[in-house]
Point group: C2
Chain length 198, copies 2
DNA sequence: GTGTAATGACTAAGCGCTTGCTTATTGTGT
DNA sequence: ACACAATAAGCAAGCGCTTAGTCATTACAC
């Protein structure tokens, strides 16, 4: 071993392109962003993008996939780390909301740019989304069956709880008056009210 | 007066173009839609669009403005038609949710295509959005001050309530198992839980 | 060490195509 | 005759992506 990393410059450049693409896609959308925009923001020539990535869509796919995998992991770990359904729901909503506020740029792409993916990539991402929805719905159903939640329809309560978190990506601003932790704590309390936890 | 309408064919054609643009923008986004897409869906030549509208952006603006005006009217009328804050909030959320489920196509444009508007149009639309947010926040604050709502932070509760309704435009499907009325009734109940109305 | 070939990040130039929109012209109803 | 809806054709600009090549670094026989 000569120095520190295996592919030092290449990895850093790939990351710079991905960061530039994330910022651009979040602000103007996939179709509103040009490959020249991304390359310029990364401080490179338009052709440099194609040294590191197959296509503009591949950038979107990589961003979308890692974003979805992160979200699924956050939810899974929150559920596993808690005992009863109420504590689990509180942890899920807290972490889910904090993640969407903190990472609202990436979360905007995750939630609003699905239609620009190729059919194959779209299908793969949709599968992760189903796992996320299933985990939350199952949690609400478990609480309802155990009698610790009081919900007329667990399915629609689960949709509402997820919906609240996802929409944070749309409205959250870094310059706003609430920190990600403020939003997370308030939203966790709101979720427990929605399912009437006791 | 000769017949029925002032500009019979022109108005129908304008509406057809607006409908085609609404469907296309909702499905693929503003930048993902071409003027040729819109014209073809309306059954006309690409140039026909410019007989009736100044630009592609004008179509977006017209759709967005009428959509926002409808939403503001729905909320204002719901508040005025109800007496106490709890009945008002129930009516607001019911009508707001039903409107977003029923008209999810237009609502998608209203809520997710703001960035494609010109700065002047964007500013005009943002003003309507502020009025919508203000109306809901004021309603929640009024309920909290009157003691009929129990909320730690009326502002964030108002954001959450609006957020729930808006996000319906993202996930609602006509082929799904819930009718707009189902969603509306469930969401109205959820909103009353969020503010702990009594 | 030194000459030389191989490697791979990066770019200047540009290709084929699509974009939003315009122009010149042709219908069509009154 | 007139007004105007509608179109065929096309323009300038911009698009995603490719090609052909430069340049710095590395590999290695001698």
């Amino acid at each position: 071993m000569t120095d520190s990393a295996d592919r030092p410059r290449s990895d850093a450049t790939r990351a710079r392109l991905l960061d530039a693409a994330t910022a651009a896609f979040a602000e103007r959308g996939f179709h509103g962003t040009t490959t020249r925009d991304i390359a310029e923001a990364a401080g490179m020539s338009p052709a440099a993008l194609y040294v590191h990535h197959k296509s503009k869509e591949e950038l979107l796919y990589l961003i979308s996939r890692s974003g979805h995998e992160n979200t699924l992991r956050i939810i899974t770990e929150a559920i596993e780390s808690a005992g009863d359904p109420a504590a689990a729901l509180r942890a899920v909503v807290r972490d889910f909301a904090a993640h969407h506020a903190q990472g609202h740029t990436g979360a905007r792409i995750v939630n609003y740019e699905l239609a620009a993916l190729t059919p194959a990539h779209h299908a793969e991402i949709r599968d992760i989304r189903h796992r996320i929805q299933h985990a939350v719905r199952e949690l609400v159903e478990r609480g309802a069956e155990a009698g610790v939640f009081d919900v007329p329809d667990p399915s629609i309560a689960a949709v509402a709880v997820l919906s609240l978190g996802i929409d944070i990506a749309r409205w959250y601003r870094d310059e706003g008056r609430w920190s990600p932790e403020d939003v997370a704590e308030h939203y966790a309390a709101i979720a427990l009210r929605i399912v009437r936890a006791h």
